[in-house]
């Protein structure tokens, strides 16, 4: 497992050396969202009975930051290495498919979790959300980050140019995360958009995460766990197959 731990460590170091951009910047972004939305909406909206909007928003923002950063880490690392050509130094050694897959994904999960924890930490100054079920919080944090880390891996392998990756990010990841109940409870949506949201796996991850804080959510955490778990499994299988077949990596 020396190969795995080295690649994992290298991936950690890669984002940590530029943590101003990879960790602090997303925390600041989340903070800005919170300032603006809480200022405008806190007095007018009560998503769940007894839950103020600011408190409701915090887990959503934390999860959104985790998802986006987990995705960024794998996708940008792989596409940069592909385009600059230094991916050969990963492809030439005897790393197993599992080592390759696990090292990239876990490093990205870790970045997601670090950013998510950072967001929660700075938002403590505004309001302290209750923590009803810490285990669910951890489970969904890991689940959401893993899903997006693997999606980033797949996008990084698939994309041949930066603009293809940007398209993936802007036309798939952004809509999935924004239309998932980060900023609202989907029960407040018209029935059509509620129906659409029900097909978005990201919604379940955020909803389950929020359940861990408030003990109430739009759907049961078990349903969220099932949908999230199934999504993770499907993406992991796909990502694994891509690496094993050498798709776009070994010509």
């Amino acid at each position: 497992m020396q190969g795995f731990s080295t690649l994992f460590y290298k991936e950690l170091l890669r984002f940590w050396k530029v943590s101003f951009q990879t960790v602090l910047a997303p925390i600041l972004t989340a903070l800005l969202y919170l300032l603006i939305f809480a200022h405008v909406l806190d007095a007018h909206v009560e998503p769940y009975p007894g839950v103020r909007y600011t408190a409701f928003l915090i887990p959503g923002l934390a999860m959104m930051s985790m998802l986006q950063n987990a995705f960024s880490n794998t996708s940008s690392s792989i596409i940069q290495s592909k385009i600059t050509g230094n991916l050969v130094f990963i492809l030439l050694p005897p790393l197993s498919h599992f080592e390759f897959f696990a090292a990239y994904v876990l490093a990205a999960v870790l970045r997601g979790v670090v950013v998510g924890a950072g967001v929660l930490l700075v938002t403590l100054f505004f309001t302290i959300p209750p923590v009803q079920h810490p285990l669910w919080i951890i489970v969904f944090a890991l689940l959401g980050s893993s899903i997006m880390a693997i999606l980033g891996l797949i996008a990084g392998i698939w994309a041949e140019k930066f603009d293809q990756l940007a398209a993936f990010q802007n036309f798939l990841i952004m809509p999935l995360t924004f239309l998932s109940g980060v900023f609202y409870s989907i029960h407040s949506l018209p029935p059509f958009w509620q129906g659409v949201s029900n097909w978005n796996p990201v919604f379940y991850v955020i909803d389950g995460f929020r359940y861990g804080f408030f003990g109430q959510a739009d759907v049961s955490p078990w349903l969220s766990l099932s949908v999230g778990g199934f999504t993770l499994l499907a993406l992991a299988t796909l990502g694994w197959q891509l690496i094993k077949s050498g798709y776009k990596l070994r010509h």
Binding site: Q2, G3, S5, T6, L7, Y9, K10, L13, R14, K17, V18, S81, T84, G85, N86, V88, F89, I90, L91, L92, P93, P94, L95, S96, G246, R250, H251
Partner: protein, 302 residues
């Protein structure tokens, strides 16, 4: 056991056939040159060897390990220096080499890393960021990266393209020493004099086909295109020889010889013509002449 075995390698990229049924072995301890013009398939062959590309059909093994079925052991046995100058700008030279060691499953490899750095003249750059290095220095790091796991087989894909003389000499001294220690070396190069000086066996590729595979000495003998240089003290060259003149410079004539036995006849014609010889010299072909001759399609080995 051969160090490398290529068996019936075929590689298509869409309609383009990059390699057409290439088979040959590199033996342990060889200093092997793989020659051919751009687009002949050298880099494709090396990519297949290193697992960066996959053959459409055929098999490759390194030290008896199949590069697909047994890829982990095969990759442990080979160190490849890619042709493109690439590096990871996030890290220093030492970090780069430590990571590379780790990918090969090696812990605490610093003693060997120091030795490689020393041999490649990189010691005082160990803590410099990769971005800060000159092109030649980056090239040295790439060589070092290929050697971290002390591979029995070392492959250098045009390592001296666009590199200064100093590095070329440092590099070849080091590689030659590795070869003497028993490492098998495979090298592709455009500088034919390097292959001529260093290698004991030579393969030539042309348009994806193997057109020559021989010991260097044999290959050099195959070149028929010797030249006879004569300088005359008085008189001039008989007209009957005009067809054979390749060049004339300051009274020295270069005559084409298709066979050594022609020398006597030529000299006799000159004497009969009444000219006197000041100097005679028979020039042996160098690898470049043979290369050019073979690439023009004469003397193909099938």
């Amino acid at each position: 056991m051969s160090a490398i075995q290529f068996q019936n390698i075929v590689k298509h990229y869409g309609d383009l056939q990059a390699l057409n049924n290439v088979s040959f072995n590199v033996e342990e301890g060889d200093f092997f040159a793989l020659l051919g013009p751009n687009g002949a398939g050298k880099t494709t062959l090396i990519s297949i060897l290193g697992g960066l590309a996959r053959a459409s059909s055929g098999q490759v093994s390194i030290m008896g390990r199949d590069v697909v079925a047994d890829y982990r052991d095969a990759r442990r046995a080979v160190g490849i220096v890619p042709q493109e100058l690439v590096f990871d700008p996030f890290f220093t030279v030492r970090e780069t080499l430590r990571f590379q060691s780790g990918y090969f499953g090696l812990k605490q490899n610093d003693a060997w890393i120091d030795e490689i750095l020393e041999n490649l003249g990189l010691t005082n750059k160990a803590n410099a960021n990769m971005r800060a290095l000159s092109g030649g220095m980056k090239r040295r790091v790439m060589v070092a990266q290929a050697l971290v796991h002390r591979p029995p087989v070392i492959v250098l894909d045009e390592p001296t393209a666009g590199v200064d003389v100093e590095l070329r000499q440092t590099l070849w001294a080091f590689v030659r020493r590795l070869n003497e220690q028993g490492h098998t070396i495979v090298l592709t190069t455009h500088y034919l004099e390097e292959a001529e000086e260093l290698c004991n066996r030579i393969a030539m590729l042309k348009q994806g086909r193997l057109i020559a595979l021989e010991d260097k000495a044999k290959l050099m003998n195959r070149g028929k295109a010797r030249t006879l240089r004569v300088r005359l003290a008085g008189g001039n060259l008989p007209l009957s020889l005009a067809d054979q003149v390749l060049a004339e410079k300051e009274g020295q004539y270069e005559l084409r010889l298709s066979d050594l036995s022609e020398v006597e006849g030529i000299l006799e014609q000159i004497r009969m013509h009444g000219a006197t010889l000041r100097d005679v010299e028979i020039a042996k072909p160098d690898l470049e002449d043979i290369f050019v001759e073979m690439m023009q399609g004469r003397g193909a080995a099938g």
